[in-house]
Every structure is written in C-alpha cells, then in structure tokens.
Symmetry: C2
Subunit: 347 residues, 2 copies
C-alpha cells in the first residue's frame, strides 16, 4: 500500500540568516507496508517538535564549526529528523503493532519510517494528558529542564534563580520546577504578554521584557539586589555577560542553549572571566541525553505536578506540514510561547 508523503527539506546548507526560501516542501510516494523480515515501523506523524538546535545541524561548514559536529548533519533534500508523536501504520518490530500511539525520532513530514534501533516508545494513553505533552513536557524539553536544573545547577531551596527565554519550551518548565523546589525565580522574555504569563499563570516571582531594557546588567541588578545564585541560560550573548556580572560567589550557570548566537555568530558572549575566577563561578554546558539516569524521577515528579495542577505545560501548536519552516524560523524571532509543535494530522 502506498501514500503520498509530504515532507520538509532544506534546499542547501544554510548560513546564520536562514529563511523560509531555504526550505522546500517535497512530495514522495511512500510505501506504507514493511518488507518481510525488516524490523521497521511505519508511523503516521501527528505532532512534531521544532527545536532551535536543529539549525546547527543545517549550517554551512565554517572553519570553526561543521554541521556534522552536531549529532549528524542534515542533508539537503532528505527528510529532517525530529522528535514527535504518531500512530503506527505497520510494524515489523514485535514491540509495536498497528494503531499504537508512539513517541520517538520521526521526521518533519507526514509519515516516518523508523529503522531497527531507532528511538521509539509507546505512549501511555491512560495518563489522560494531551498527546502533545509527549512532544514537550514529557519528552526532551521536560527532561532538559529537569536535569539541567536539578543535576547541573544543583539548587538549594531559597536560592535565587534567573531563567532566560523563560517562556520558551524549556524555560517555562525550569522556572516552575525551581518555584516548586522553593527557589526565588525571575524570568526574562521578549514581550509584555510573555512577562504577564510568567508572573501570572506560571508563578514566577518576577519577570522582565529584555527588549525594553537599555542595560541588561542594571535590569538584573534591579531584579536580584542580593545577586543570582543560578542562571539557566537558554540564550547566551549579552544576557550571559550580564548574568555573570550579577552572580554571587559559587554561582552556577547551566548552558542549555544559546539561541541568540545560533543565528548571529557576531553575538558571542564574552563573560568577564575575572568575575568567574573571583566568584568561583561554574559555567557548564549540558545535553539532556546524558541524564537518562534521572528519567524515572523526572517523569514521576512531572506527572504528579501536572496532575495536581501545580505545573502548567504550554504548547504552542501550528497546523500542517507546510507550516514547519515558519514555525521553526519563528523560534529565532521569539514567536512561540512555550513548546513549539506542529500538528500534521488529526488524532
């Protein structure tokens, strides 16, 4: 049996200034059945994740960096791997059968073929939570926030926590974990609507719109008169410099991502290393995949918080495979509120 599969590809490797014209919507004939003895799984995609880091896999090789440094380069014309949720259409793998809801490494298209050994897990549909949660708060965004905060930042109750891109897919969860843990939490975001959301629904102690601040160092000084103990960095650039300047002794910076530097290589952070020495600051990059040892704890805690209403997962959902490029590029403009997801088919 065959279907028409529409998927998104890059036309060529991109540079810092990626735009929609760098992407194309391709159409292919897609076989919906598995060849005998192949342990593949065919999935009809439902919800797909778009994540800022993917741009690093699309970039033109430069002297200092090559796309293939980042968990495999994305190849022009080929389907683009992305986490997502879908429904099994056919399976040669005894662990899955037709009709199963699954979450794993799919691609930016309407159908995915998951080879043997590919990342794929059944979704527990008895949880009574929206299916899109399995793309964000119950997937890498959630684990990144949880592991980054608890394992990298090693917080103590009462500590002062700053989160940048605080209404983003990871940031809005970090702030809530930190509040539930007993920290004082301030976030920054790029619109008044986001700031209101942080201070209102999400329960941050304070928040500010960084686009309306002339001096980021002064803004942080105002929000943290006693200094910052933990900075959960999603943006890099100027904000990292300002945070380091406002950090307390033995402060910790967890560098989750540096979105401001992904699309503007001129914007590199130059934190004051004299501060780093004298204040004994630790700046540590991390990837959630290194923390699978806390997956059980993370999932149990997060499900409990979601069920008792103490944590809110924000999903920002666009519709249609053709909307993926603009949804993706919108991440760098700050268009999204919470986890950006594209729904490519009805449940």
């Amino acid at each position: 049996m065959e279907a028409t599969n529409r998927y998104i590809a890059i036309k060529h490797l991109v540079d810092e200034a990626a735009q929609e014209s760098d992407f194309e919507l391709k159409t292919e004939t897609f076989t919906l059945s598995i060849e005998p003895r192949k342990k593949e799984v065919i999935v009809k995609n439902l919800y797909l994740s778009v994540d800022p880091y993917q741009i690093n896999r699309m970039k033109i090789k430069s002297s200092s960096q090559k796309a293939s440094d980042f968990a495999g380069a994305i190849i022009p014309g080929e389907p683009i791997e992305a986490f997502g949720v879908g429904r099994v259409v056919d399976s040669g793998n005894p662990e899955f059968e037709k009709g199963d809801l699954v979450a794993g490494l799919l691609n930016w298209g309407e159908y995915s073929r998951i080879k043997e050994g590919g990342l794929l897990n059944k979704v527990d549909s008895t949880l009574g939570l929206p299916l899109s949660y399995h793309v964000g708060v119950l997937a890498f965004s959630g684990l990144t926030a949880y592991a980054g905060f608890f394992e990298v930042c090693k917080p103590k109750a009462g500590e002062k926590v700053f989160v940048s891109a605080a209404s983003g897919s990871v940031g809005h969860l970090v702030g809530q974990y930190a509040k539930l843990f007993g920290c004082y939490v301030v976030g920054c975001a790029g619109t008044q609507q986001k700031v209101d959301l942080l201070k209102g629904k999400l329960g941050f102690d304070d928040a500010f719109n960084y686009k309306e601040e002339i001096d980021l160092k002064a803004a942080l000084k105002r929000c943290f008169p006693d200094g910052i103990d933990i900075y959960f960095d999603n943006v890099g650039g100027d904000m990292l410099e300002a945070a380091v300047e406002n950090m307390n002794s033995f402060g910790r910076v967890a560098v989750c991502g540096v979105i401001s530097e992904y699309t503007d290589k001129g914007k590199r952070a130059a934190p004051n290393m004299i501060d780093v020495v004298y204040k004994r600051i630790t700046i540590r990059g991390f990837l959630a995949a290194d923390y699978m040892n806390v997956y059980g704890d993370y999932l149990a805690a997060t499900l409990e918080h979601l069920r008792n209403g103490k944590m809110h997962a924000l999903d920002d959902i666009s519709r249609g495979v053709e909307s993926i490029p603009s949804a993706f590029l919108g991440l760098f403009r700050g268009d999204n509120i919470g986890k950006k997801i594209v729904q490519v088919a009805d449940e």
Copy 2:
C-alpha cells in the same frame, strides 16, 4: 626600638596600563617592639611574593568592577599585603618568639606588623629546602596548582592536559603534577627558553611558544590531534577560545587566572558557547583558599616529589624592596620564569 622601614605603595588607583611611575618607595619610622598586651608579631621580611592578581586590587573602580570586589582594595599610600617569609623580631603572641622563621601575610616592605588573627605560621626549617619555597611551591602557588588540577579538573590518568603560562608560578607546578599523575601534558609559554625548560627539565610532553603561532587554534590542533580533556587556564583571552574549540566532550577548564585580561580589558575571551553546550564543557573559576581541606594531602605529596627529585620548583628571585614594582609589572610582560619572588633581606 625603632627602625627605618621602606615599603612600596601605589600613588593612586591604577588603570589597565599600570606602570612603575604609579608606585612609590616610601620610608617610615617603624617601632620594632610590641605594646603591652597586644598580640601582634613584628617580622623582618626576607622573601616576598609578587602575584598578578594583586593588580585587580589596585584598579580604578569601573562600572563593571570595583577594586574592593577583590579581597579588599589596596589603598594608595598604604603598605600592600603580600604573602612572604620572614623572621620574628618581637612577638606579643605566645605562639611565636623572636628568631622564629615564619610564613604568612606580610607586606611589600622591609618589616611587617601582623595583627592578632593575621595569617602567620612557623616555617619548618628541618625540611632542608630553600626558604623561598615557602613563598611558592609550599604556599599558595603550590596549593593553587594542586587543588586546581586535582579538585577542579578531576583528572583521569591518560587524559590530555593543556597548561597556559606553563612556566609561570602555578603553571610549572600544574604540568608536573599532571605528568606525575600519568597525563599527557602540553604547555605554552612566551619564549623559546621557557619552551625548552618545559620540554627539558620539567618533563612536559610538548610545549610551544604562543608568540610564534599565527593561529592558536591550529597550534592546539597540532599539539592535541585527539583533543584536549583538561585546560588549566592562567591567561584567558584568545587562548581560552582556542582551547574550548579544541576540547573533547566532557572537557574541563579550570580558570585559575586570566592574566592577559588583567592589563587589557579589551582582550576578553568569547569562547564558543555552542561548543560548550554540545561538548558539555565545564568552565570553572576557583581560588585556592577554598581547598584548605586538601592542604595536608597537597603538602605531603609535594614534599615527597621535591625530596625525591621528581618535581622541580622554579623560583625567580630579584633583590631589594625597591625592585618590587618592576618585578610585579614584569609578570604581565612574562619576564619571570617560575615563581616571582623579591628577596628584601639576607637570611
């Protein structure tokens, strides 16, 4: 009883471009006896430490930094605290008596008065080691090297270690600790003489003259074809950027000092934070004073290495209190080989 005490002071707070004319040699009448009931100790200074970090305590307050951030500002006209070794002239403290050799926080002059509670310890003169060692390898330079390498970098045998300012007071010890521990060690320095010393007497696996390299990234790539696991950073700036680019996954940077940035604030390091994230690099500033818990281990190991000739402590000794400003400013020109010490009186 009174003596004439000559001491060095700054005339005024300095800026990035400190020079000898910013310093003055002052003369005062100095009382050599202790007033009744005062638990002070009067010390005739013998060997005094000059350290790059002291410049940060002399600097003019800027918007981003004030001298007082750094363990107390140095006040123009007043004696300047510095670690050193001397001989007790008079003591109101029952722990010390006239004639004792002591090491502690003295000042850049011929005599010091150490108040009750001041840092002062008797020197064990039965060790049979040069007295100047108690200013460097057996004092903060040694502890900084030991704690920074073992406690901050957490090395594993066989790991690849890069040390900058490798012939400096701390660097030359770090490299030797790392070699004795079983690491592959490469150092950089600023003259061919220093490079020869590193590769010869000090046993580094390799070394290079950074002033003769057009491209520091390429130099490190050449010395570390399989990447750097640990970077012991004494300089900051471009070298930190180049090291981060050449680091392996889970690499660690111990930031001990950033001497290239102390006298040139335009030279700030802007390490590629995308590398920091994807390679899960940790950049950590530290101060030796936080590691007094390993003091016993450090001292035992270091004494053993020195006695059996497996470790060489380099002391670079100038003579006379009046030579302190040039000895100090020479640190920023790379004049010193090993620990810079000024001998202000004969033993």
